[in-house]
Assembly symmetry: none
Homo-oligomer: 157 residues x 2
DNA sequence: GTCAATACCATTGACGCCCATGATTACCCA
DNA sequence: TGGGTAATCATGGGCGTCAATGGTATTGAC
């Protein structure tokens, strides 16, 4: 189906293992690497997650920046240098590294939050708070999104 | 047929299951995912419903925003993070999650309200009230909709 | 040898699938 | 045109399966 949707809260066991939601695994199942890519968010206290395909798209996009520009440098450090490939075990669980859990404040459970093309991993309470804030903002200032026209069924010539 | 039209009130059984109206299922039948996508409206006490194709359009549209922009963040949280994929069973029923029912105040029955490309799910009494309000507004201030010219029917040569 | 990572197994609880029933609608044929 | 019949749809309940979770064993690295 291709999108990461919904939010799932799963438990982290004593070893630091956590089940990746089955629907997320299904989304990633088309990919060669059987696991997720995770890096620490530089905007929130959470972990960014995605598939390898999205990493490659990021890499392609980053090429639009100058090869040796400071922006490109920073982006690489923030994302590519920090990204870990977390393969899941036969039961669909990944092992969350220590520093990653610490960055998000995760202890005994975590929330997988779908963001469409990507997803995030939060400490459940932190996410609840962040979401409430966003909803409050949305009520005050209703967000809009200009819908792109439906993709034509026949390809352009 | 391709559009969600009319309003249907169906019962919610003890397990939280409810039949998706047959005509809505027919509209969605062309899609790969056999079910609906539902997320809590951030403007009304109701549930927004659509097909996976509409979600993908939203995702495409959101990509026009910057990958790391705050707007993209908020919108994703409100929609993608809250969207649930509700597959229907062989009888055409979906299982309404607890918090979703709570958000709309749904208990023993719910109204499927066609909105064209999408639809909404309401607690029947709440919808009756909301509809009355909308009609009252329309009387006071007649809405307009500039019609787009009919799309040419000839296929591309 | 110790520790950590990973594979293997076992449990349970939610959810999906199956069958049955009733009611309404659409259809067919006299 | 009316009656009868078949099909579709909404609804209710029982049961099996799979995902999530916890624990144990095995393997490999330092």
């Amino acid at each position: 189906m291709g999108l990461f949707l919904s939010t799932f809260v799963n438990k982290v066991d004593r070893k630091g293992r956590v089940s990746v939601p089955a629907s997320f695994r299904a989304t990633l199942s088309v990919q060669p690497f059987q696991g997720i890519i995770a890096y620490r968010s530089f905007a929130h206290a959470c972990i960014e997650g995605c598939g390898m395909d999205f990493m490659e798209r990021l890499s392609d996009s980053a090429q639009n920046l100058d090869a040796f520009s400071p922006e490109q440098d920073d982006l690489s450090a923030l994302i590519f240098a920090d990204a870990r490939q977390l393969a899941w075990d036969p039961e669909g669980r990944i092992l969350l590294p220590e520093d990653v859990m610490a960055h998000a404040g995760i202890t005994e459970s975590c929330a997988f939050v779908g963001k469409g093309q990507t997803f995030q991993i939060w400490e459940p309470e932190s996410y609840r708070a962040a979401e409430a804030e966003i909803r409050a903002r949305a009520l005050a200032n209703r967000p809009t999104l200009p819908l792109r026209p439906k993709a034509p069924s026949q390809e352009p010539r």
